[in-house]
Symmetry: C2
Subunit: 499 residues, 2 copies
């Protein structure tokens, strides 16, 4: 199915006795819903990275923390790997099942346990949708800040596992910055609280370590999140540019002017046209790039910043700057951006969504590099960015029905990510490593660093039963992956000149 | 010297061959400054927690990262424990030397390597003073936000080790929130970068794990920090109260009104009088408590928030609200607060500075509890708080020359911390655990949690050579500590009613 991932490189997983497992689970975990027929397992064969599919050994759908504890105890005893799954919206295959493993689906943990306006927090179960937290808090004038584009569907447990971002994370931080504490169940079935009401808890910061660990350290069973007061005013400016690099430079100039926008997003012409055609957001379809810049806070403050941002944009060569005139227009401007992925899906049989980050100053050069790679591979690339924090989402358009369709797209994607690493960036911004980018991790980290990751993993999960084969590659994989590169006549890190 | 810490509970440390170590270091690390005479070692026998003193085996003062690597390689090979020390201002004994260990003093790493106004970061060596970073950035209108009261003297490497806070961390975050990446040397002498320019780096978040780990995971050799634009305006309100609990309630009301002040500090009458007598800050010496509330941002915004905070304070029962009329008065108001510790030092032969945190809502009840404990032990307690984030600094006044002077103060301090834990808080806010609070960690965490800490520690330092006996107690220590408590007729956690 894909050229880059080869399961054998991670070494064999134990082959569990499915019948014995089913039997033990049914005895030890009363009332647990277990799916085991092929028909029932089918809907769980992939997450949001649909190019990778595997039927799990079993699916379990616990409803209580005690059930999760007993499931983990049982699997631990029988050496059965466990993959946890939230809403399954993840784009890097972090919740891709294992043929030899149990898929632990947290969908039934869907209750909001407490919204506390005085303490400005909410306690929720991990299956609660991201947006539902804000909806439950709106009566108090509060909201939960991190807003991944999938926020209608994605769950907070998955957000913790991936340390999810969103268009507002430049100003309001990632998931980890908006958590107070999390309840987890360990691989051995112990219950534990990580984090604390205090700003700085004593001991090692295991909550920060756990957040973004992609299901490799434990199972999230409850989350206590911070709630923020809704800004009095939010205003969006849309600037059009006749040149992508000018738009890239404008991003740096806004930040350098001492303004931290609530959101600062960029789209190139291909993305603009696709979104406009789908959403009718009012985007300028002839522009080579647009920037969307949201300012929020108290009104007088926003007025002043709006004037300053407009000035910066005009000095940076914007050909037009438009301010959303009312809330409806503001929502339309954002709807175009938030629906950019499905919009691109309408103009191409398939697309492959990348997720790399780069230092902001490298934006113009990397855009040029992507254009060159697009030409080299003969595949169109639409660019959508969380520009403010240098997080890019190049969308590679391809046709999986063509010979080598996916393979070519993956190879192009791999080169884009390696370009990100070369300019000092990373292979993932907010979508995680999962299964998808396991090989690129070999480019991001050296053996010493990977060994340290594995040692930390072993501190939580010495038997390596939690989500094996994701996130942190084995040294063996990296050695083989490097060898494959050389075998094809290319070094993984040719000493290329920078763009 | 102190009743609460007993070194034997951690098991014996290896007894190194001092002569062999000296010999190897002098061969392997050319040009390394080594101190080994009693006279030369004496100045390093304690850090800011001067009640605990130990002469180290040796003091080394490296100047380059390569020297640090070779020192670590040598100590690792010879099984010699290593304690790193920054400026030695820490208040929990985190840099207290070991008789059997090398004290690695980072004072010579005192260069600012880069101030980058476009990228809004500074790269500095770990021995650079906290305030020096802001001083070097002021020409660009930038500053480094975390501002511990010791910022004139404390070093950024120590700030990383302790995850230091300060009066502005409520709004601007702790050290960990203001770091981009750190360079470390591992116990085996390997060099490694933790963190990344990207907002969310792939792999486990080892930078967050490392920050606040109190020298137990590695040695910080370079730090890349975020710089923020200096706020246009900063304004301080001072509110006086005739009742400590009313002041405590006002804190919650300010936060509940949707305002996040740049700083929100509280002092009680004893602290007010001591500070006023020392600094002549203009504090109302008859008030039972004062709140200092700083608002910063653009002028119009600050004007509006000032009016709202004044209203909240008056509604909360403030008997007077005063606004600093100019920058000089603002600096005076803060000088009183920042010098509260030395001010208390003038009115008592000795004082013991505590550092606990509690949920904000528990502030009034805990203040009452501290007053009761103060009476029980017959020792005065001055209260100074980072009220906004629930971080308390009760200062216990005592006379070490009295029989059992320190022991009584420590026992009172211990009870205050246990009170913090009982109401859902922690035993340390920003000063760290170090040597001082190692026993209270047994109250904060259970065996499963401590085991996990030790497993994480072992991932970085399997031989346990880095700062042993600090921060994370051994299970043996906690078992014995519990037993001692019971032996004295007191359970560590009597099921007391909450205040």
């Amino acid at each position: 199915m894909n050229i880059l991932y080869d399961e054998r490189l991670d070494g064999p997983l134990p082959t569990p006795d499915r019948t014995a497992l089913l039997h033990k689970l049914s005895i030890r975990v009363p009332d647990l819903q277990i799916l085991h027929t092929e028909e029932a397992l089918k809907p769980y064969e992939c997450d949001g990275l649909a190019a990778y599919r595997t039927l799990p050994l079993l699916v379990v759908l616990p409803e209580t923390i005690e059930q999760v504890q007993r499931i983990m105890q049982t699997c631990h005893e029988l050496n059965v790997p466990v993959v946890a799954r939230g809403a399954g919206t993840g784009l890097s295959g972090g919740a891709l099942p294992l043929q030899q493993g149990v898929l632990l689906v947290m969908a039934k943990f869907n209750r909001i346990l407490e919204v506390n306006p005085q303490g400005r927090f909410a306690r929720v179960q991990p299956g609660v949708r991201n947006l539902a937290i804000s909806e439950a808090s709106v009566a108090h004038g509060l909201y939960y800040a991190p807003d991944p584009s999938s926020q209608i569907a994605c769950s907070i447990g998955g957000n913790v596992a991936e340390n999810a971002g969103g268009v507002h994370c430049l100003k309001y931080g990632l998931t980890v910055h908006n958590l107070i504490s999390i309840e987890i169940v360990t691989v051995e079935g112990e219950r534990m609280t990580l984090g604390n009401d205090a700003l700085d808890a004593p001991g090692f910061d295991l909550m920060a370590l756990f957040t973004g660990s992609e299901g490799m350290l434990g199972i999230v069973v409850e989350v206590k999140v911070k709630l923020l007061p809704k800004p009095q005013v939010a205003r969006v400016l849309m600037a059009s540019f006749d040149d992508v690099e000018k738009a890239g430079l404008a991003v740096g100039s806004i930040i350098a002017a001492g303004i931290i926008p609530g959101g600062l997003e960029m789209m190139d012409n291909l993305a603009i046209r696709a979104a406009e055609d789908f959403i009718h957001a009012g985007y300028p379809v002839d522009a080579e790039a647009i920037l969307l810049c949201e300012l929020d806070g108290v009104e007088s403050d926003v007025d002043e910043e709006t004037a300053r941002v407009r000035e910066v944009l005009e000095k940076s060569g914007a050909i037009a700057v438009q301010i959303a005139q009312d809330e409806a227009e503001r929502q339309r401007f954002w709807a175009g951006r938030k629906n950019a992925f499905p919009a691109v899906g309408r103009i191409s049989p398939d697309y492959y969504c990348m997720d790399g980050t780069i230092p902001r100053r490298e934006l113009p050069g990397v855009l040029k590099g992507i254009a060159q790679l697009s030409e080299k591979y003969g595949l169109r690339v639409a660019n959508v960015f969380h520009a403010g924090d240098g997080n890019m989402h190049p969308l590679i358009l391809f046709d999986a029905d063509q010979p080598n369709g996916l393979e070519t797209a993956e190879a192009l994607g791999g080169e884009i990510l390696e370009l990100c690493v070369r300019v000092g960036g990373t292979i993932t911004g907010e979508h995680g490593v999962g299964r998808e980018k396991i090989n690129q991790m070999c480019a991001q980290f050296n053996d010493d660093e990977l060994e340290l990751f594995h040692a930390v993993k072993a501190a939580f999960d010495p038997k390596r039963l939690l989500n094996p084969g994701k996130n942190i590659p084995t040294l063996n994989r990296c050695a083989e992956f490097g060898a494959m590169h050389i075998h094809r006549g290319e070094l993984p890190f040719p000493e290329l000149e920078r763009f």
